[in-house]
C-alpha cells in the first residue's frame, strides 16, 4: 500500500509532467529539434551555459578540495562556523544571491570598483555568470569530497612517509588518486547544477543575446513569446544532457565502488 502511494505521488508530481515534455518534444521530430538546436541564438546560449559552467566547476574543484582539506585536517579558530558557511549557497535563495552578487560586482560595488580601473568588467559579462555559478556550485564539491577525506587512514600516509616519500609525493601519488572519484562526482554535480541555474545568474548576466544569455533564460524568453515549441526543444536538449551527466555520475560511483570500495 505504501508502495502504491509512493508510486502514485511520484507519477503525478514528477513523471507525468516530465513525460509531457518528452512527448511534446518527440512530436517535434528530429527535424524540428535540429532546427531549434542549430538556431544561432540557441547555439550561443547553450555554448555560454556549458562554457561558463565548465569553468566554474573547474574553479570549484580546485578551491573546493582546498576548503575540504583545510576543514578536515586543520584546527583553527572559527572552523565550525566556516564549515557551516559552506552550505550557504544551498540555503540562500538564488534570487537573493543574484542581486547581492550584482551589487558587489557592478561598477561602483565593493569588488567592482577595484576591478573597473583595471579594465575588468564582471557584471553583465560571461565572467559575472561564472562567478554566480562558482557561488552555487562550491558546496557540491566540498560536501562530496569532505566525507571521503575524513575516511583516509593515517597509516597510509605514515607508510608513504616511512618509505621516503616527501609530503608532496604522498599527497599527489597516494592521497589524490583515492580522492579522484569523489572529486569527479563533485565536479559533475557542480557542473550539472550550474548548467540549469537561473536565479543567481540572470541578474549579474545582463542577458545580452549572443553574449551573456544563458539557455534557461532563453527558455523563459521563448515561453513569454508563447513559442512553446522553441522552449520545449531547448528544454529537451538540456534535459538530455543533464540525464547523461546523471548517468556518468552513476558510472563514476560504480567504478569507484569497485576500485576503491566506497561510493561518494
Amino acid at each position: 500500500m505504501t508502495l502504491g502511494f509512493t508510486l502514485a505521488y511520484l507519477t503525478l508530481i514528477v513523471l507525468i509532467p516530465l513525460a509531457g515534455l518528452v512527448w511534446r518534444s518527440a512530436s517535434l521530430g528530429w527535424g524540428g529539434m535540429w532546427h531549434v538546436a542549430t538556431d544561432a541564438r540557441t547555439l550561443n546560449a547553450l555554448k555560454i551555459s556549458f562554457g561558463t559552467s565548465l569553468v566554474a566547476a573547474l574553479i570549484n574543484v580546485v578551491f573546493g578540495v582546498i576548503v575540504a582539506w583545510v576543514l578536515v585536517r586543520y584546527r583553527f579558530p572559527g572552523r565550525r562556523i566556516i564549515d557551516a558557511i559552506v552550505d550557504l549557497p544551498f540555503a540562500l535563495p538564488t534570487a537573493v544571491a543574484g542581486i547581492a552578487l550584482t551589487a558587489l560586482y557592478s561598477k561602483n560595488g565593493w569588488i567592482g570598483r577595484w576591478l573597473d580601473p583595471l579594465g575588468i568588467k564582471v557584471a553583465f559579462t560571461p565572467i559575472g555568470i561564472t562567478i554566480a555559478l562558482i557561488f552555487i556550485g562550491l558546496p557540491f564539491v566540498v560536501r562530496t569530497v569532505q566525507p571521503v577525506m575524513e575516511e583516509i587512514r593515517k597509516e597510509v600516509e605514515e607508510a608513504a612517509a616511512t618509505l621516503g616519500a616527501t609530503r608532496f609525493q604522498t599527497i599527489s601519488r597516494v592521497l589524490l588518486p583515492g580522492l579522484t572519484p569523489a572529486i569527479l562526482t563533485g565536479f559533475a554535480l557542480a557542473f550539472a547544477r550550474a548548467v540549469g541555474e537561473y536565479g543567481s545568474v540572470i541578474f549579474i548576466a545582463g542577458n545580452l543575446p549572443y553574449i551573456s544569455e544563458i539557455a534557461p533564460l532563453l527558455i523563459v524568453i521563448r515561453l513569454e513569446e508563447f513559442d512553446y515549441t522553441g522552449a520545449t526543444a531547448i528544454a529537451a536538449i538540456m534535459l538530455l544532457i543533464s540525464f547523461t551527466m546523471l548517468f556518468v555520475i552513476n558510472l563514476i560511483q560504480a567504478w569507484s565502488r569497485r576500485r576503491y570500495g566506497y561510493a561518494t
Partner: protein, 294 residues
C-alpha cells in the same frame, strides 16, 4: 640505566613537523586561501544583502514592509511552503519507509527517480507544468471550462514548489532508515502492536531528527525557489508573486532598498536554517547517519 629517547631532528629548529602533515607555512597558506575564497565568494554577498537593505537607514528599510504587494508576497510564500512542505514530508516518510523496510524489484531505480527533480533545471521544472496546463495542452481547455485556474495562480506555484522540493525529506530518510533496519519494528509487531502503533511509537521516534533535518532543507528551498515559480506564476502583483519574485520586480524597478529589504528576510531565513542545521549535526550527528550533506 637511562635510555635516551630518539629526538626529532633539530637541525632546522622550529620548522620540524610530523611527516603526515604539511609544514607550518603550507598550512598557513592553505588556510588563508580557503578563508579568502570563502570570504570573497560566500560571506561578502551575504553581508552585502544587509548592507544594501540598510543603505538608506532603518526607516527606509521598514517602509519596504509597509507595502501591500510586499506583504502579499510574504503571505503567499508562507502559504506555499505550508502546503508544499507537509505534502513532501508525508511523501518522504512513506517513500523512505517503503524503500527501507520492504524488498521489491526496481528499488534502486525508484530511488533514482525520487532524486530526478534535483537534476532538472528549475526553469524546466516550471515549464513542464506550463506544457501540461496551458490552453494549448490536452488538459487546458477542459480546466478552463470548469473554471479551474492552475497556471498563473496559486495551485501552479504550489505544484512547481512541490516538484523542486520533492526529494529533500525522502533522500534524508532513506539511508537513515536503511541503516536502522527492521529489528525494532519486528520487536514491536511481535509484542502485539499494530502497524500504525509501530510506526507512531517506534519508527517515528527513531527518525525524528533526520526528519526535522530534511524538513528544514525542504522548507528553505520551498520559500526561496525562484526559477520554477517564476515560470508558472505570471507575475501578477499582489496575487501570484512570492518573496523571491517580489525581490526581482523591485530590483528591476531600481527600487534597490526595498528589493534588498525583502531579500534580507530570505537571507535571515537562510541563516536560521544554517544555524539549526549545524546544531542538529552537532547534537544528533550520529543519528542523522553519515550521509554527508546533500
Amino acid at each position: 640505566m637511562r635510555h635516551e629517547l630518539p629526538q626529532p631532528p633539530q637541525a632546522a629548529a622550529g620548522s620540524w613537523h610530523p611527516a603526515t602533515t604539511e609544514s607550518r607555512t603550507a598550512r598557513f597558506i592553505l588556510v588563508s586561501v580557503a578563508l579568502v575564497f570563502l570570504g570573497l565568494f560566500l560571506l561578502l554577498p551575504l553581508i552585502s544583502v544587509f548592507f544594501e537593505a540598510f543603505r538608506k537607514g532603518p526607516a527606509a528599510y521598514f517602509a519596504a514592509f509597509a507595502d501591500h504587494d510586499a506583504l502579499a508576497a510574504i503571505r503567499l510564500t508562507l502559504l506555499v511552503a505550508a502546503i508544499a512542505v507537509p505534502l513532501n514530508l508525508v511523501f518522504g516518510v512513506v517513500a523512505a519507509w517503503t524503500i527501507a523496510k520492504f524488498e521489491f524489484k526496481g528499488k534502486a531505480f525508484l530511488t533514482t527517480l525520487i532524486d530526478l527533480p534535483f537534476s532538472v533545471s528549475p526553469v524546466i521544472s516550471g515549464l513542464v507544468y506550463v506544457l501540461l496546463f496551458s490552453t494549448h495542452s490536452a488538459l487546458g481547455p477542459w480546466l478552463k471550462s470548469q473554471g479551474i485556474e492552475i497556471l498563473f495562480a496559486v495551485p501552479g506555484i504550489v505544484l512547481a514548489t512541490v516538484f523542486v522540493t520533492f526529494p529533500f525529506v525522502a533522500r534524508e530518510l532513506i539511508p537513515l532508515m536503511q541503516e536502522q533496519g527492521t529489528t525494532d519494528e519486528e520487536a514491536a509487531l511481535s509484542l502485539g502492536a499494530n502497524g500504525w502503533q509501530t510506526f507512531w511509537h517506534v519508527t517515528l521516534p527513531n527518525i525524528k531528527w533526520g526528519l526535522l533535518y530534511g524538513v528544514l532543507l525542504c522548507n528553505a528551498r520551498a520559500m526561496g525557489e525562484f526559477g520554477a515559480v517564476s515560470v508558472v506564476s505570471g507575475h501578477i502583483r499582489g496575487l501570484t508573486n512570492t518573496m523571491p519574485l517580489q525581490v526581482e520586480i523591485l530590483y528591476n524597478e531600481f527600487n534597490t532598498v526595498a528589493a534588498f529589504a525583502v531579500a534580507s528576510l530570505l537571507a535571515l531565513l537562510a541563516l536560521v536554517t544554517l544555524v539549526l542545521k549545524t546544531l542538529l549535526e552537532l547534537k544528533y550527528g550520529a543519528e542523522l547517519a553519515a550521509n554527508g550533506g546533500h
